[in-house]
C-alpha cells in the first residue's frame, strides 16, 4: 500500500491508464484451497478511469476461462480490441468516465499472472505439472491481494460473465464486506456433471497429444507444444459456447469453398472450417497447461459445498446487492442455474435483480452486443451508485 496508481505513470489523466505486473505475497505466501502454498506471485492487471477521493468507485471486472486483463482498448497480444468493448469504456454501461475499472489476469493463466508456464524459482524451469492445483477461491484470493496492493478496501462492484461470473459470486461469499454490488452474467454457482464432462474431453485431448510430454513440453525449447490437443480442446469447448439455432442460422449445412461434398475428411462444411480456425488461432495465445489448470479450477467450483449443498447459506446476512443475468439459449450455464442463484438469494433476503434475456447466440451472448444486457447493467450500476453515494 505504498503507491497510489490513480493516474498513469506519465501523469496523464487518460481514461486508459496502464497495464502492470506486480509481485504480491512476498514473504507471505498464498495458502491455496489444496493446502499447498504458492510463494510470491506475479499478477498482471490493467486499470481504466480514475479512483475518486473516497475510493468508492472501484469496479473489478473478472474475465472468463480464456480471457485476459485487456477488457477494452487494443489487446497488445492479439492486436484486436478488448474482449468486452461493448460493455466497458467511456459512456458504456461500465463507464470508465465514472468508475475506476480494474481487471487482472487470473492465477494459473498465461497472460502475465503466475501460472504453470511461469518459472518455478526453485527449479529455474517452468512449473509445468508441478504447479499446484488452484481453485476459483484461490483466483479471488490473488485478486484480493491486488486490491490490498492498490489500497482499495471496498469494491463498488464486481462484474463478470461465465467463469468471471463465478468469481463475482465467490467474491460476495468470501469477502462480503468488500463488495457492494455484484453483476453475475451467464454463469453458475457450481460446475455440473455435464460441465465437468466437456472439460474432461478437452483435457484428455491435450494429454493425449504426445507433444504434451506429461506437461513438461516447456523444458525443451526446441520441442513442439501440444497444439493439436489444445486446438481440439478449444473446438469442443467452442461448441458449448454457441447454440444450435445460432449455428444453424450462421452456418447451416453450407459447404466451404466447394459446390458438393468431397467424400473425404477435409473441412467440407463451413462449421468445420470455422471450428478449425477457432482451434488454430487459440493455440497462438493460450498455454495448454494453463487450460488444464483453469478448467480444473472451474470443475472444482461449488459454492454450496461448504454448506451441505445449500447455496443460500453462502450468502446469509449478505449486504451485497446482486444483478443476475442469463440468456435463453445458453445451454452451458442454463437459466435454471441462474434461477437457483436468484432463489437462494431471495431465501436469505438478499437484494437481487434477475433477467433471462431472449437471445439466440448461446453462452457467448454475454460477449456480444446486447442492448437489453447493456441497459440492465447500466441501470443497475447507476441506481446503486446513486443509493450508495458514489461520486465519479
Amino acid at each position: 500500500m505504498t503507491e497510489q496508481p490513480v493516474s498513469s505513470p506519465s501523469g496523464e489523466t487518460d481514461v486508459e491508464n496502464f497495464a502492470d505486473v506486480v509481485t504480491l505475497g512476498e514473504g507471505n505466501p498464498l495458502v491455496l484451497d489444496s493446502g499447498e502454498m504458492l510463494g510470491a506471485i506475479e499478477v498482471a492487471y490493467k486499470t481504466w478511469g480514475r479512483l475518486n477521493a473516497d475510493k468508492s468507485n472501484a469496479i473489478l471486472i473478472c474475465h472468463a476461462l480464456t480471457g485476459d486483463h485487456y477488457v477494452c482498448g487494443t489487446n497488445p497480444i492479439t492486436g484486436k480490441g478488448g474482449w468486452w468493448e461493448n460493455m466497458v469504456g467511456p459512456g458504456k454501461p461500465v463507464d470508465t468516465d465514472r468508475y475506476y475499472i480494474i481487471c487482472s489476469n487470473v492465477l494459473g493463466s498465461c497472460a502475465g499472472t503466475t501460472g504453470p508456464a511461469s518459472l518455478n524459482p526453485i527449479t529455474g524451469k517452468a512449473y509445468g505439472p508441478d504447479f499446484p492445483v488452484i481453485t476459483l477461491g484461490d483466483m479471488v484470493r490473488a485478486q484480493a491481494l491486488l486490491l490490498d496492493h492498490l489500497g482499495i478496501d471496498t469494491l463498488f462492484s464486481v462484474i463478470g460473465g461465465s467463469m468471471g461470473g463465478m468469481q463475482t459470486l465467490q467474491w460476495a461469499a468470501a469477502y462480503p464486506d468488500r463488495v457492494k454490488t455484484v453483476v453475475a452474467i451467464a454463469t453458475t454457482w457450481r460446475h455440473s456433471a455435464q460441465n465437468i464432462a466437456f472439460h474432461e474431453v478437452g483435457r484428455q485431448a491435450i494429454m493425449a497429444d504426445v507433444n504434451w510430454a506429461h506437461g513438461r513440453y516447456m523444458d525443451d525449447p526446441r520441442a513442439e507444444p501440444p497444439h493439436a490437443g489444445l486446438a481440439v480442446a478449444r473446438m469442443a469447448a467452442h461448441i458449448t459456447y454457441m447454440s444450435e439455432s445460432g449455428l444453424t442460422s450462421r452456418f447451416g449445412r453450407n459447404l466451404q469453398d466447394r459446390d458438393k461434398v468431397a467424400f473425404g475428411f477435409d473441412a467440407d462444411f463451413q462449421i468445420e472450417s470455422y471450428l478449425r480456425h477457432q482451434g488454430i488461432s487459440f493455440v497462438d495465445r493460450f498455454d495448454a497447461n494453463s487450460y488444464l489448470y483453469i478448467t480444473r479450477a472451474m470443475d472444482y467450483y461449488d459454492l454450496s459445498a461448504p454448506y451441505d449443498g445449500v447455496l443460500a447459506e453462502a450468502f446469509r446476512e449478505t449486504k451485497t446487492r446482486f444483478c443476475v443475468i442469463s440468456f435463453t439459449s445458453d445451454w452451458l450455464y442454463t437459466t435454471e442455474e441462474s434461477r437457483h442463484i436468484v432463489r437462494s438469494l431471495n431465501a436469505v433476503g438478499a437484494r437481487v435483480s434477475f433477467a433471462n434475456i431472449d437471445m439466440d447466440k448461446g453462452h457467448d451472448s454475454f460477449l456480444l452486443d446486447c442492448p437489453e444486457m447493456n441497459d440492465m447493467v447500466a441501470g443497475f450500476l447507476q441506481s446503486e451508485a446513486r443509493s450508495i453515494g458514489v461520486n465519479s
Binding site: 446487492r321 444483478c323 434461477r339 436468484v342 432463489r343 437462494s344 431471495n346 431465501a347 436469505v348 433476503g349 437484494r351 437481487v352 435483480s353 434477475f354 433477467a355 433471462n356 434475456i357 431472449d358 437489453e372 441497459d375 440492465m376 447500466a378 441501470g379 443497475f380 447507476q382 441506481s383 446503486e384 446513486r386 443509493s387
Partner: protein
Amino acid sequence: MTPTKTRASDIRVDLLEIARMIPAGSTVLDVGCGDGSLLDYLIQEKNVDGRGIELSAEGVNRSVAKGLSVIQGNAEEDIAYYPDDCFDYVILSQTLQAMQRPDRMLEQLLRVGKKAVVSFPNFGHWKVRANLGLLGTMPVNKTLDYPWYATPNIHFCTIRDFVNLCGQLDIDVEQSMAINAKGSRMPFISLFLVNLLATQGLYVITRKQPENSRA
C-alpha cells in the same frame, strides 16, 4: 439512459390507491410488478424497501434499468423461495385472475407478507353480467381487455367470491375498496351494490389473528 422519477401523475389511478395503503418505510414485494412504475413510485415517494417479481422480460428489463430489484419469474413458483414474514406488504395488482391457483397464491402472499394488498377485476360488474346474460358473449372491456381465447386470465371472480374465499381461508379483510369504470375510488355502499357497480375490487388482507394472541 437516465432513469426518470415516477410521479403520481405517471401511474394508474388504481395503483395510486394501492400506494395510499402502504405506510412509508415498509418492506414491499410487488408480485407481477410490470414495468415497475408502482414500485418505483413507492420507493421515491414513500421510501419503501421494495422488490418485485415479473413474468415478462420486457417488464423486468425496464424495471431493472430503472434500478429496481426485480426478478424475472413465475410468481406461483418463485414466491415459495421467500422465507416467512419477510415483507410488511405484498402487492398483487390485477394478477390474481391469471394464477393457476388463486387460493394458494393468497396463502403464499400472507406467508411471506404480514399483509397483502390485492386488486382484481370484478366479474360481477353489471356490464359483465349483461354481456353474458343478455348478449351471451364473454365480456371484453378496459379491465378485461382480452378476447376469451387469448386471455392470460383463467380464474375470474366477483368481489363477493373474493370475500367468500377470504372467509374460507381464514383471512381477515382489513380494508375493502371499490374502483369504478373511471378507475377512481367509489364509496363502499354495500357488498351487493359494489359487486354490481365496481369494475375492480381492492383489498388489504391479513392472517386471522387467534383471539387471545393480541394480549
